[in-house]
Each structure stands twice: as C-alpha cells, then as structure tokens.
Subunit: 152 residues, 8 copies
C-alpha cells in the first residue's frame, strides 16, 4: 500500500487472504516518497515468486499503475478515500490507465479491499483446486448468510 | 459484452487476446434483455472450462457484476461510453461492487478493452510460461515503440 | 432490498405503504450475493400476484435493473447512499437503464424510499378508488401541514 | 414535454405507446413559459381520465416535479440533454424530489423516453390483461433479438 | 423558502435584510407540497407591492424557477444543501433555467443566503439613496474587518 | 465580458437589452489580462451612472466576482463553456462567492446570457414602469409562442 | 490567504517554509472583501523583493488568479475546502486559468498547503545551493520515514 | 510528455519557451510504458543541469507526480484531455499529490500548456533579469492586445 495510513482499509484485503489461506506479504511502498523502493519491488516481484500484486492508495494514486508498469504480474488496485474528494481522485487515478498497462480496479475503500483479496484468490484458484474450493465455500457461505427478511 | 453495439470497443480486447495467442469466445449477453442467457452463461462458465470472463457494458452496466455474482472465475469489467454521461455511469456501475463479489475494472472505452485482454492474458500467464513470455515480449515491444522525441 | 443494511432507508417505503393500507412484503434479495434468489423472486413475482416491485440498493446497485429484466411488473428503484460516493453511484446504476427495460427511479435515500411507497400506491390507486382516496387525503394532509411562516 | 425542442427525444415515448396500442396525447407544456397551462393541465388530468403522465424536460427540469405536485396520478420523468451539462442538470432536477411528491425517473435521453413509454404501459397493464400480453410479447421479442455473437 | 427546514440557512438572508433596514416577509411556500400557494404567491407578488423575491430550496429545487415563471419581479435563488448530494442538485435545479425565465442564483447554503439578502438590497438601492449608503457602509465595514495577519 | 471570444454567447444578453430598449455598453474587460482596466471599470461604474453589470466569463471565471468586489451595483454573472469542462468550472467560479459579495448567477451559455439581459431589465423595471410593461409584454409573447402540440 | 479562516490549512505552508529556513510573510488578503489591498499587494510584490506568492482560498477562489494577473512572480495556489462542495469549486476556480496567466495549483487542503511551501522552496533553491541541500535533506528524511510494513 | 499524442497540446508550452528565449528539450517519457526511462530521466535531471520539468499527460496521468517523486526540481504538470472524461481524470491524477511531493498543476489542455511554459519562465526569471524583462514585456503585450469592445 502507498502509506501506513492506508492500512485500516487495506487490512481487509489481508484478512480475506488469510481467511482463504493465501500466503501474502504486506508492505508499505510509497510511489511518491519511496520511488526507488517501488522500482525495486515491482521489477523484482515476478522473480521473487509473487503471483498477484494488490496496491491500495489514495489521492493522486499512482502506486497501482506504476507497479503495473514494471511487472507483467496481474496488478489489482484499491482506491482509498484519503482526501476531500472522497476517493473520486484515487478511483480515476487508478482505473483510467492507458492501453498497454492494465490495473484491475476495485471499489473505493473497504469493499474494494475485501474484493481485491477475493479476486486475487480467484486468480490463484485457477491453478489451485483446493483454493478454488475454499473460494467457492466462502461464496456459498456468503450467500447463505443473507437473511430473507430485513427484520430477521 | 452487453450489446452488439459494444463491439467496436470490445473488439480491442479480442484483438489483444488474438495477438497473444489466447483462445476466447465473443458472445453477446445482455444482462437486461437476456437475463436467462446471462444466468446460464455465468453459472456454466467454470464447468465449460472458461478461465476468465471479460464483460463490457455501458450505462447502467450490470453485466460484469451480475456475471461475477454467479461464478468464482475472475471477472474483468470494461465500462463503455454509451450514454450522455460518457461512461461515468458505466464506470461506477461496474467498479462500485459490494464486498464479496469482485470485478476487476478497467478504463472507460478502448484503452480499457485493450487492457482487459492484456490483464486476462497476464492472469492466464501465471500458469503458462509460454504465454508469459509472449506477454513480456509484447510489453517490451511496447516500451521500445515509445519515441524519444515527439518529433520523431 | 439488496441488503439488510438498506432497511433503515427502505423502511420508509414500508411505512408509507402501511400508512396507505397497501399490503406488501419486505424481502432481502441481494443481486450479487443471492442471484438465484433474485432470479426466482423476479421471474415468479407476477404469478405470485405482486403488482409493483420496489427495489432499493447502494453502490453498484444492480437489484432494481435486474429485477426489471425478469418481469414486466413496474419496478421502482431507490438509490441508497452506502458508499464514499454518497449515492451518486447507486443513482446512476439504477436510472441509466437501456431502452427496453424501465426502472422508475426515485431520489437518493429516505425521500426516495418514501416516494417509492407513495408512487407504488399511486399506481395501484389507478384501479382502486378507495386507495386513490387515501392517497389524495395523504397529499391534502401534507399540503395542509406546511406552515405559512418559518417561525410557526 | 417542456419544449417543442424536446420532441426528437420524447417521440420515442410516443412511438413505444403506439407500438403497444396505448392511447396518449402529446402536449407541449412549459413549466416556465406556460405555468398556467401546466397548472390547468396537471390539476385537471385525473378528471379528464388520464392515467399516467410522462413529462420530459431539460436543464432546470421542473415540469415532471411540478406536474407531480398537482396530481396523484403516477408521473414519469425523462431528463433531456439540452444544455452544456449533458442532462446531468435535468436528471438531478427531476429525480431528487422531496418525500411526498414522487416522480419515477428514467434514463437521460432516448433510452429514458423509450422506457417511459414502456413503464407507463406496464403500469396500465396491471389492470389490462391484453396490454399485459402485448408488453410481454414486446419484451420477448426484444430478448429474441439479441444476437449470440457480435459478428452475426 | 420551500420548507421550514430551510430556515436555518435562509434566516441569514432575513438577518442581512434586517441589518440593512429592508422590510421583508418570510414565508414557507413549497413548490411541491403547496403548488396552489406558490401560484397565488407568485402571481400576486407584484400587485402586493413586493419588489424582489428570494427563494431558497434544496434537492430538486423548483421553487425559485417556478416563482420566476409567474412574475416579472427579480427572483433570487439560494440552493440549500438538503440531500446526500450536498446542494449540487439544488444548484443545478436553480441555475440552469431556460432562456426567458431568469433566476439570479447565489452560492449553496449560508453564504448564498447572506448574499441573496445583500443583492436584493443592492437592487432596491438603485432607487433608494439611503439604502445605497447603508449598503456601501456595510461593505466598507466588511472590508475594514479583514485583519492584515492571520494571527491578529 | 472577459474575452472577445465570449461575444458569441454574451451578445444574447445585448440582444435582449436592445429588444427591451435598455441602453447598455459592451466592453471587453479581462480580469486576468487587464486587471487595471477591471479595477478602473468596476470602481467607477456607479459614478458613471451604470445601474447593473453583466459579466460573462469562462474557465476560472473571476470577472463577475471581482467586479462585484469593487462596486455595490448588482452584478450578474454568466458562465461561458470555454474549456474541456464545459462550463462547470465557470459556473462554480462565479456562483460560489463568499458571504458579503453577491453575484447573481445565470445558466451556462446562451440561456444564461439571454436571462442576464432579462434579469437586468427586470431590475431596472422596478423603477421604470414603461420598461416593466415591455418586460411583461415580452414574457406574455413568450408564453403565447409555446405551441400546444409538438407537431404544430 | 483569502480569509483568516483559511489559516488552519495555510499554516502548513508556513510551517514548511520555517522548517526549510525560508523567510516569508503571512498576510490576509481577500480578493473579494479587500480588492484594493490585493491590488496593492500584488502590484508591489516584485518591487518589495518577494520571490514567490502562495495564495490559498476556498469557494469561488479568485485570490491566486487575481494575484497572478498583477505580477510576473510565480504564484502558487492552494484550494481550501470551505464550502459544501468540499474544495471542488476552489480547485476549478484556481487551476482553470486562461492561457497567459499561470497559477501553479496544488492539492486541496493540507497536503496542498504543505506542497505549496515545498514547491516555493524548490523554486528558490534553484539559485540557493544551501536551501537546495535542505530541501534534498527533507526529502531524504521523508523517504527514510516510510516504514517497510504497515505494522511497524 | 507521456505520449507522442500529447504533443499537439504540449507544443504550446514549447512555443511559449521559444518565444521567451528559454532553452528546453522536448522528450517523450511514458510513466507506464517506459518507467525505466522516467526513472533515469528524473533522477538525473538536476545533475544534467535542468532547472524546471514540465510534464503533460492524460488519463491516469502519473508522469508529473512520478517525476516529482525523483527530483527536487520544480515540476509543473499539464492535464491533457485524452479520454472520455475530458481531462477530469488527468487533472485529479496530477493535482491531488500527497504532502511532501509537490506538482504545480496548470489548466487542462492548451491553456495549461501555455501557462506551464510561462510559469517555468517566471521561475527562471527570478535569477535572470533579462528573462524577467522578456516575461514582463510579453505580459504587457498581452494586456495591450485585449480590445476595448467585442466588435473591434
């Protein structure tokens, strides 16, 4: 994520990955304050064995797109509502990438972080039948948890 | 895609997949006009052997999210600028999914379609070293194609 | 409604229907977490004798439009402000339907829920003179309740 | 509609009503230039035997809401993109009604006009089985008209 | 104003008028809940000797424009932030009037209410030299009240 | 107006004033390129006998507000759609004035220019019965010019 | 800055300048309430030996652009979120300047104020090697202060 | 600039620099397609003797902010309207930088490019009296070029 202050949002991605038994590392990499760290992180990610990068950032959110520019791994971006514009700036900064450098963008804030974890798991599940089963189970549980009536 | 009229945009996803040698099928599935077709398509996608679903739609763009609600395959969404609001409606309709049902959203229009194809290939490349090499080559070619000067 | 958490808003629709003596059922049907329930609900609604469907949802609010895609009953949509975008996402997701599948959309939040109940009653009143009289009475009462001066 | 210049959009509502065999009248009633005509039209609509009012307007679009304020008939509003803001002003002016005076709002422009005609028909179909059958047939035809492939 | 709930904002217009010694009346006239009252109020305003009408409203704010449609008196509009959209809906509903029916629109909320009172006074001051002097004095006082340093 | 390029829009204000027999002067005063001219113009306006100032500008439209800061005459502002943001920037730059310095803001573009001329005439008509009659006649003519049917 | 109430935001610019040892003066100059003070301030700034002007303002934020219109010194603008629109109005009012009168605009609110101070220092550092070293040190310190992990 | 396609906009910055006799280099550096080139360019800029960096980009415009993250030279950003969102995405992606990494942002498109050139010259003029005189002359010429009347 781009800042330690993004953790209250981004931890929901981590929790989802934990719940699904997907190994991950949580790192603070600021596109703007630590560009060298970003450069090193993104260019080495594939060689280090990472499979998917989830990047969350707010405001002029350049982290997901810049990470994507330096790796061919799938990059998922989570806009964080960190400014007066409530995440609209982050959403557009992340999603409006030019042709050639994709970032799979999720919703602003907590639902986006949850879904980044879940989409990463769905991607990894393509070649991991056990993970696929765990994702399917979680989805089924989620469906079962919806009450019939608002008063239940 | 949600409508035949989305094809001029969505064909860029198809072209990217072709260029990278990724097999695909292009289908018109309207969330609103053919909900049964959507239901059948999405619920059977995994069993039919599909790996990634790319869904493009405009306006109140429900196709990507509804597809995602009925499969655990990764779903990528492309907002199409089909109304007076120039794709802002489609972008928000696709990206603002609730926690639990992820759609990896790309940019509005042609760059988003290109990137949906490329991101799908990147996802598949995680377990296909040859495809991974082709993606890397395309990315390198892309980098090499940027001129040093605007006057070149 | 799309989620139990929409109830604080959507109960205003229920209260209006109760006040006007219109029978109704309140159900949680999540387009994204329970698509099968939505499919069953919408396709059977007319046969079950329902006359009007009021659907409230937030974020990428697909419930009203998807319900409308599977029934010819009038569907009324209420955008709920459930995300950082304060209902702008839900409004556009509900109102910008393509030609052929209408959703009569009301205001964001509580006023929209009140009005969904009232509009549903106005629709039913077309063939129910007693209900029509009750609607007229409520409207007259409402008019009478506006003070002449802000200091009254 | 609020202006003769709205006709290119609003005629799509008329065409839908004609196609479904629903009798209608098309009138120009400007909330701002002919407020007396609006007052007379709206207050007499129910007595004249009208069942549903479809009102289309652009910019500061007050016609639908003001019509709704003077009748208990269901009022459907169609935002027309008539200004530099491309219908965003009309959409908000129509949909954001206060609790107590509902306007069922459709999409901006042509799709909204089509849907206003269709929703009006769906409302009338609640007490007209033959119309209901015609609406169902149109919807089925619409579904059947969606090609399987974008290249068909 | 359109609702008693607008008074906390609109009282700033009243206070400005009082401070400048301009006689005024404060009335609640809801465009939507009391259209007849609005009709009577606006059509009789000039004959009753009113000179300027200040109208404040929120959401789908039709009061200023509808008042303007029924009088040739200058009408000033104040958008009130009464909904989830924080006055953006009211601003567009008030300012985007079609050619032929003007509303002089002020800022959203308190500053707009203050300025509506002040602009009304400036208009009346064109034919009232004493009022003109009082407006000039207030403006001078206002200028004098700006400190040189933020720490004063 | 702020630029000669605003004339195609602002001439509609001039035409309205001519049609109503109101004397006026049309001047180019750029807040940004000729601040001294603006300063001289605004501070001398009242002494020169001007009654109302109509100021049109686009983009970061500072002309109306700055004129208002230097005179107690009523200032009317017309946002011109001169940039990629289609007048949204000009609208907010003109209307969102702080308490104490009012600008009566009209619609973006041509309708706003027409209405600025008409509102200025309405203001002057308060102390000019003949002008008042001409304004009333124009408004009546306008009402009469609305056809009953879109097909007339 | 345009108002004493902008100080809680703008003091962050002052603090940055202090931290970097850059002499500055903090003045309240309201474009709208004290236009003469603004005129005097901006036209004399260069002669008084000022090098860079930082101007912060909210709403219809005219201060930065008007200062820029009267000096050739670099002017930096900070949008302050002072209204219901949360700084969107101020941002557009500051950044959308016409060709010929530049304002270097920073982010809305506190980050923008910090950056205005830092950018001013970077500008002055071009001809002040010691300041350049202090800016470089601050930037390095900033980089070093980013933790590796969100849990540190 | 971020793409050769930005040149029609960005050449206006070059023309302004030429007109003012400021040496410059025009380079295509894509943040996303050539991140290594960006890294090399930005980290070496100061040592190579550059004084100011002007960076223009569209969509998810990361070039200005990323350049700023790797140099302490002043960086000026120009949002280019390259997508369906007409530069709103680029504006927010450039201006909403976090505290610590400033980008002085100009208007969307051509006026912004002109102003970037002019602001860069104003910055350099602080230590170059001859350039300062040329900037002052250009500004005076610009002022003199504003006609008194729109009909001149």
């Amino acid at each position: 994520m781009g800042s330690k202050s993004d953790w209250p949002v981004m931890q929901h991605a981590a929790e989802m990955l934990e719940r699904l038994g997907v190994a991950y590392e949580a790192r603070v990499v600021s596109a703007h304050r630590t560009p060298k760290r970003l450069y090193d992180y993104a260019t080495s990610a594939q060689a280090r064995g990472l499979k998917v990068i989830i990047a969350g950032a707010g405001g002029a959110a350049h982290l997901p797109g810049m990470a994507a520019s330096m790796t061919i791994l799938p990059v998922l971006g989570v806009p964080v509502a960190a400014t007066a514009l409530q995440g609209q700036d982050a959403l557009l900064s992340i999603v409006q990438m030019p042709g050639g450098i994709p970032v799979g963008t999720l919703a602003i804030g907590k639902p986006g972080a949850i879904n980044a974890g879940l989409l990463a798991a769905s991607i990894l599940a393509l070649s991991d039948p056990e993970l696929s089963a765990r994702v399917a189970a979680l989805r089924a549980e989620q469906t079962a948890g919806v009450p019939e009536s608002p008063l239940e």
